[in-house]
Symmetry: C2
Subunit: 252 residues, 2 copies
């Protein structure tokens, strides 16, 4: 098999476009890298093509054969990687189209303007761990397919139903489906430990600096805060989401 | 007041040494940057000197006057900053010497080989929020004074008693002080929800890849796991610490 040697090759330029939101939006595709994410992408049946360094031995060759595979040089690997030290194996995936059905997806996490890709990805990973069914990306929230989001999520985005949309509209739909909606706030809120675990809930977390939009907080059933017992002024949003999701989720 | 213009100035070279562990170990000093951390450092009475860009107006001048202040150029600011976009205000601080006293410090978080500075700093911030008294840095754990740790901790390292030491020795001391010691593990552990909140506890979290050393897990009173309800294979260590600390901590 021929190997693509130069980072200036036209196909390399196409792959690099997937590192930008514009490129992902135009093509409906995104890129994952590393063995773990590639295995998850194969399981999820979302792989379009695979690019691998010729000296890369960690993947079972049989598993790759069902996809178009292109050999690439270390130079190309560096050019298309979003990390400093690429593993040398990549896949182009098609973006997911999975609709949320509130009659069966009864545990949700909603993002209101969450910006940091590491926070977004970590919350998707945590939501998956906590058995959350769906995640809604509200306005002003980062892009699910940002390489840092995908890396931090460690494959969990393949396991969840994810939609983008207007949070006010979603709150209306959640209420119509009898799913209690909890905002997170520092003032005019109650301690999360006062709310018992439930079978169905929707939790809204907000922007790293500004929190959840007050106009959104006005529409929820209840707003929760996490008590700060020490001298810390706040919690990281992903830590807060972890504490709240594992509290609201009824143990089985 | 004279302004230091060039990043090649000998004082700039001294400041830059504080960005390395060797430099911090040799001098017993470290650097913080940004308004929030500087305010926290002043409150904690740990500031040695302040460096500020001459066009920086956000700090109350009166507050700075009690310390030696050096004006620096934007070039110097970039040279001594650990961030891409420095705020333009820095302080050299002396390293803290605060001993843990288990007769009064009864809630502890112990790190066994935690490596990622962002995780370490976020856990210090979370421990402060949860009202933890002390944090023990076991062997193989990153350096408290690493700029990324300090930045992620957002000033919480000033609020906690922090020591480094051998975790086996610490477990002995904790047991002698009647403080239950909980490890974290995936196998041979019990669901954290089975352990009730208590007034005194010590929680050990481990390395991002390997977890807590099995030899340490053998010495604990109990090892806890967080149930994974979805398809995620693990939780980020800082998320796990947040869930466990807020569970073990008795609400007041």
């Amino acid at each position: 098999m021929e190997e693509i040697q130069s980072a200036k090759n036209s196909r390399v330029k196409e792959w690099k476009k997937l590192l930008t939101k514009k490129g992902r939006d135009q093509t409906g595709k995104y890129m994952v890298e590393g063995v773990h994410l590639l295995e998850e992408a194969i399981k999820a049946n979302e792989v379009v093509e695979i690019m691998v360094q010729s000296d890369f031995a960690a993947m079972d060759a049989e598993q790759l054969k069902q996809y178009p595979v292109t050999l690439i040089s270390a130079e190309v690997s560096r050019a298309i990687s979003a990390t400093e030290t690429p593993q040398g194996i990549f896949a182009v995936c098609k973006k997911r189209t999975v609709s949320v059905d509130l009659s069966v997806h009864r545990r949700l996490l909603l993002f209101d303007g969450v910006q940091d890709p590491g926070n977004i990805g970590t919350m998707i990973r945590t939501a998956d761990a906590a058995g959350i069914d769906a995640v809604i990306f509200g306005e002003g929230t980062g892009d699910l397919y940002n390489p840092k989001v995908i890396r931090s999520a460690q494959g969990s985005h393949f396991h969840l139903h994810v939609e983008t949309g207007d949070l006010s509209e979603w709150i209306g739909k959640l209420k119509a489906a009898d799913i209690p909606v909890y905002g997170t706030a520092i003032e005019n809120a109650q301690a999360f430990t006062n709310v018992p675990p439930t079978d169905a809930f929707a939790l809204i977390v907000g922007n790293e600096g500004a929190g959840v939009d007050p106009a959104i907080l006005d529409q929820t059933d209840n707003n929760l805060y996490i008590p700060l017992y020490g001298q810390s002024e706040s919690l990281n949003v992903a830590i807060a989401a972890g504490i709240l999701l594992y509290h609201l989720r009824k143990p089985i």
